[in-house]
Amino acid sequence: MLIQRASDIPSSEITPERLYSNRREFIKTASSALGTAAVISILPGCMNSSASGTAQNKAKGPYDTDEKQTPYEDIISYNNYYEFGIDKSDPIKYSKNFKTKPWTVSVEGMVKKPATYTLEDLTKGFAMEDRVYRMRCVEAWSMVIPWMGFPLAELVKRLEPTPSAKYVEFKTILDPSQMPGQKPSIFGGGLHWPYTEGLRLDEAMNPLAFIAMGIYGKSLPNQDGAPLRLVTPWKYGFKGVKAIVKIRFTDKQPLTAWMEASPQEYGFYANVNPQVDHPRWSQASERRIGEFYKRRTLMFNGYAEQVAQLYSGLDLRKNF
């Protein structure tokens, strides 16, 4: 299993990660793009080893992208996780002491076995897989992340929703004592906690939908959604609800946190779509973290082949 393999990486291999830091890369690209000499040279040998680590050396799975993976250091330091603060640098600072053990997940609603499971029971017997997915944030930046976890479909099958269930809803833990961003503010302006997301059941059963418990073969850092989070690579990143404590099966479309906060800007589907702009900014292109130039955003974030059929006949402009 991967968790064990990860700890076998000699520290000598991990260290170059810092050298690899994409700020340097950015400055390098920037300085050459700006016409000045590239002042910082990086040993060419360091370029492809190190951070790319475990997953890239492994055989590529059917859903993996072979694009260059975003350095570990960036994935754990540049986060949107409003429970720990609004700034990208807040989650790494304020999630340090977040308790993920013990962890229970309550399964509710239209399901054969509603119960509260320990995390161990919920995931017992699932083989951990690697998935190298693109991640496109609604703010028009993107990453390539080697997740570790299991397909959501396996979990859904284990929980056995009843035939009337059409949707599955997820909720993040509500604990203002550990999550400063959840403390009530007299000025308001925040999301309504706990964070809520949802999928249509057929979306949840799509082989791309994934529950992540790790990245780069290591267990998931708190700021990335430990101990378990949703990953739906064809949707904007905010769909990826973190630190899940509740899974509810229902026949009504769940009201997600962002829909509730700003319904004209955020819809239930949140599919990556370069043709449908956010009301306030364009979604046609994106900045891949670590790259200087922007790149075109792909329909369904490049996963059209796997997911387009889910939305045939649906007006994606209305169902954004």
Binding site: Y78, W141, A284, G290
Partner: protein, 210 residues
């Protein structure tokens, strides 16, 4: 040796202090202290410092009136030009690093997106003010007309705050705080212009004597 005039020290000192935010940004860039998305850091930090310098510039007049420290006026032009300096960097970040001179995209942005429109308006309104900031231009335009022209800073400030308000994803607390500060600074001017302070002062005075 001629006696050193404190003014000769004070002005360069304030000038150097005003440079700190961008020196700091440059330092963070070189030392790798920016986030994983450095462009966003450039964009946000040049933007917020534009607004801050706008507020500082607009504070000069009320502060002079309240404290009676009239020599503050000596710094007003410098603050104004630093506002323009930061807004220029902010604008360049957008045109160059964000859009890479893709003028079709920029045009789409200008015509479609209120937050870009207000940003452009705020910036372009500052250009004539920066150009006419010299003594020569005051003479050329005449004090009254010059002053009229420079009232555009109020419009620019309103546009700047709106730009910030429309840009944030969700948490409007910071933009609202800037809006309140701007309202206070502009409100002060409206109050004193309409002589609304006088009866207030008179009343306080009569209460004291009673």
């Amino acid at each position: 040796m001629p006696k050193l005039n404190p003014r000769w020290i004070l002005k360069p000192a304030v000038f150097l202090i005003c440079l700190v935010p961008m020196v700091w940004l440059a330092w963070d860039t070189v030392s790798g202290n920016l986030t994983a998305n450095p462009l966003e850091d450039f964009r946000d930090r040049t933007g917020i410092w534009t607004l801050r310098f706008l507020m500082i510039t607009l504070s000069v007049t009320p502060l002079r009136r309240i404290t009676g420290w009239h020599s503050l006026i000596r710094f007003r032009r410098m603050f104004g030009l630093f506002t323009f300096f930061h807004s220029f960097l902010h604008f360049i970040t957008y045109i160059w690093l964000d859009q890479f001179f893709a003028f079709d995209e920029i045009l789409k942005d200008i015509t479609k997106r209120p937050f870009i429109i207000s940003g452009f308006a705020g910036f372009f309104l500052l250009i004539p003010l920066a150009i006419t900031s010299t003594k020569k231009w005051i003479g050329r335009l005449g004090g009254k007309r010059w002053q009229m022209l420079h009232r555009f800073i109020y419009v620019s400030a309103v546009a700047g705050v709106l730009h910030y308000y429309w840009r944030v994803k969700l948490d409007v607390r910071d933009p609202v705080a800037y809006g309140v500060l701007l309202a206070v600074l502009l409100g002060f001017r409206a109050f004193s212009r309409l002589n609304l302070f006088k009866p207030l002062v008179a009343r306080v005075g009569s209460e004291k004597s009673a």
